[in-house]
């Protein structure tokens, strides 16, 4: 397919649906959910009913089966209303992607179909208290006993954990083997020995829930292991390769909302007898924000497009996630600046954008790790 920047009529329709849901249903609830750290289950249920939830699951298993670019278009719309709600909606895609990638047809039929047939949440359990960036060093143990594995350990910062009914958990048969010892398991919430720790009180994205998952002698039958013993690390990395780009789109959505608010405000607020947008330094801010937002969106679309064309896109998806989330921080910061004193106040919308955007630099691979990937992939060309 040639490169084109115009959305297809179908993509426009998906965009319209997502934007309508975001504007009419998510946005009005966002401030209260942020202030009180409420988890708006009715919104998530409605997202499911509209088909906006399991975007990456093939239609034969009850998902929407969308291309990654379509997922990014939807994600940007949702995130322009609330970053936190969008993270909780996207967390299902993240948790399910290991089953999409590593599951057998039998496992997909048995695990995905009932999950997608009605409203359910799932969680992806990779990060541990001792470290998230060095995922190969994870400590949660998986011990083979007859026809099942026994899991022991802790996962932390797990999105949707308090509400999830299904977990994809990464554990090792031998920490000394590092990546070669890691296995991926699907664990239902009601498995004895699995419990949820205290919910985190977060800086931003407070409409999303985050908690520790504790596993004490959790018995998982063999048929719930994805792939073979030792293939878990590859499954986890391939999962993150494909979910990283939508995080870029999430950052684009938050930044777009910040830029829109700041632009409107700059045309209303006056100082020294003119609209502040007419002061050169404010106009320059708006210009820079517009440039960075545009670049972020295009990088995100490119990474998604490459994946949809069947190419490997580790470099491009890392570039998209890293640039978009860093740019979102700069854009949200400038939006506060343009709002002056009001920007610093919780009754105005812009300070929330900054708090929400910050997470995009940290999760699904901190930006330092993205830069490591970018440099490694790029330098290969000269080695």
């Amino acid at each position: 397919m040639p490169i084109g920047f115009e959305l297809t009529p179908d993509q426009k329709e998906l965009q319209t649906l997502a934007s309508k849901f975001a504007r009419e249903e998510m946005a009005p609830r966002a401030p209260e959910c942020d202030k009180k750290a409420l988890f708006p289950e009715d919104i998530y249920r409605r997202a499911f009913d509209l088909g906006l939830m399991n975007l990456n699951v093939p239609t034969e298993y009850g998902g929407s089966g969308l291309a990654l670019l379509d997922q990014c278009i939807i994600t940007e719309e949702l995130a322009s209303a609330c970053g936190g709600m969008t993270t909780s909606i996207l967390a299902n895609c993240l948790a399910i992607q290991p089953i999409n990638l590593g599951g057998s047809p039998e496992q997909k039929e048995r695990l995905l179909k009932p999950f997608c047939s009605s409203y359910h949440l799932a969680s992806f359990g990779l990060t541990e208290p001792s470290g998230g960036s060095d995922a190969a060093a994870l400590k949660t143990r998986a011990e083979r006993r007859g026809n099942h594995y026994v899991l022991n350990g802790q996962k932390c910062f797990i999105t949707n954990a308090p509400q999830a009914s299904l977990f994809t958990i990464f554990a090792t048969v031998d920490p000394a083997k590092r990546d070669k010892g890691i296995c991926a398991f699907v664990v239902p919430r009601d498995t004895p020995g699995l419990s949820i720790g205290k919910e985190e009180d977060k800086m931003g994205q407070r409409a999303s829930s985050t908690a520790t998952v504790i596993m004490e002698d959790v018995k998982v039958p063999l048929e719930n292991m994805l792939g073979k013993e030792g293939e878990g690390f590859r499954i986890a990395m391939q999962t993150l390769d494909s979910t990283r780009t939508p995080i870029g789109a999430l950052a684009v959505g938050i930044a777009r909302a910040a830029l829109e608010q700041a632009s409107k405000y700059s045309l209303q607020r006056t100082s020294f007898g003119k609209k502040i947008a007419e002061h050169q330094s404010i106009a320059a801010k708006i210009a820079n924000m517009t440039i960075e937002l545009d670049a972020s969106r295009l990088l995100t679309w490119r990474a998604a497009w490459l994946v949809d064309q069947g190419h490997r896109a580790s470099l491009e998806s890392s570039i998209a996630k890293c640039f978009s989330s860093d740019a979102a921080m700069r854009i949200c910061d400038e939006a506060i600046q343009i709002f002056g004193g009001y920007g610093y106040m919780r009754d105005y919308p812009v300070e929330k954008y900054l708090r929400d955007a910050k997470l995009c630099q940290i999760y699904e691979g901190a930006n330092e790790i993205q830069r490591q990937v970018i440099a490694r992939e790029f330098l290969k060309r000269f080695a």
């Binding site: 009529p9 329709e13 649906l17 929407s64």
Partner: protein
Amino acid sequence: MDVIVCVKHVPDAETRLRAASSGKWIDPDGVKFTVNNTYDEAAAEEALRLKEKCGAKSVRVITVGPARAEEALRYVLSMGADEATLIETPPDAQLDPLTTSRLLAGVIKTLPHDIVMVGKQAADDEAGVVGSALGALLGLPSYAFVTELSPDATTKTLKMRRYVEGGEEHFHGPFPAVISLLKGAADPRTPTLPNILKARKKPLTKVPLADAQAKAQALPGAPVAGTVRSFVLPPPRTGAKMVEFQTPEEAAEKLVKLLREEAKVL
């Protein structure tokens, strides 16, 4: 029972409008068009309910407009309509509502139709003409400003309601008929993503303008149309007065004084 619903692709209510250089209509450049045309959406919802609740066989959505108006048809297909027809006009055509009605009627006449639904008026020109004109051109009764309807397929009658000054009228009448809707029994549904994907495969027929014009020749009466002489945007509002205050009491006191002494409305 076959249901046809007519919708119009209109500028989004939040779009900033400018007059076109012709001075006769808005400049469509950069304008976002949508089907979020309150009364048309209500008509589409009601048409779908006729299928779901009253056993209507099919719902077809029709519009007259340029190629971009296909979006409005796709939207209603995504809501659940079965088929769509686009009577395609040139991009810069500016149609008088009577002309639109003749084109619609010419095409509808060739399609099975027991109930033809329209919104009571379009959100852009708000002419409110198409419903009654379609009735006249198709030789069917037309019921205007309906708020509720239930058809009885055996007696071919419709029970309807509408608001009238000071109350509500409950009435019935025969169909086939044309109904212009003020509002439906339920809020228009939002198309779900799976339905959007399904709508891709639904048939959408394009009727070239010349074909529709030829079909319209068989209709009673001669084509008549008004001509727009000029289109002007309302002048920007002036005269707003900001009241400076320290306390709510002071604000109220100053407001009352202004309303009494300057505006003289109290």
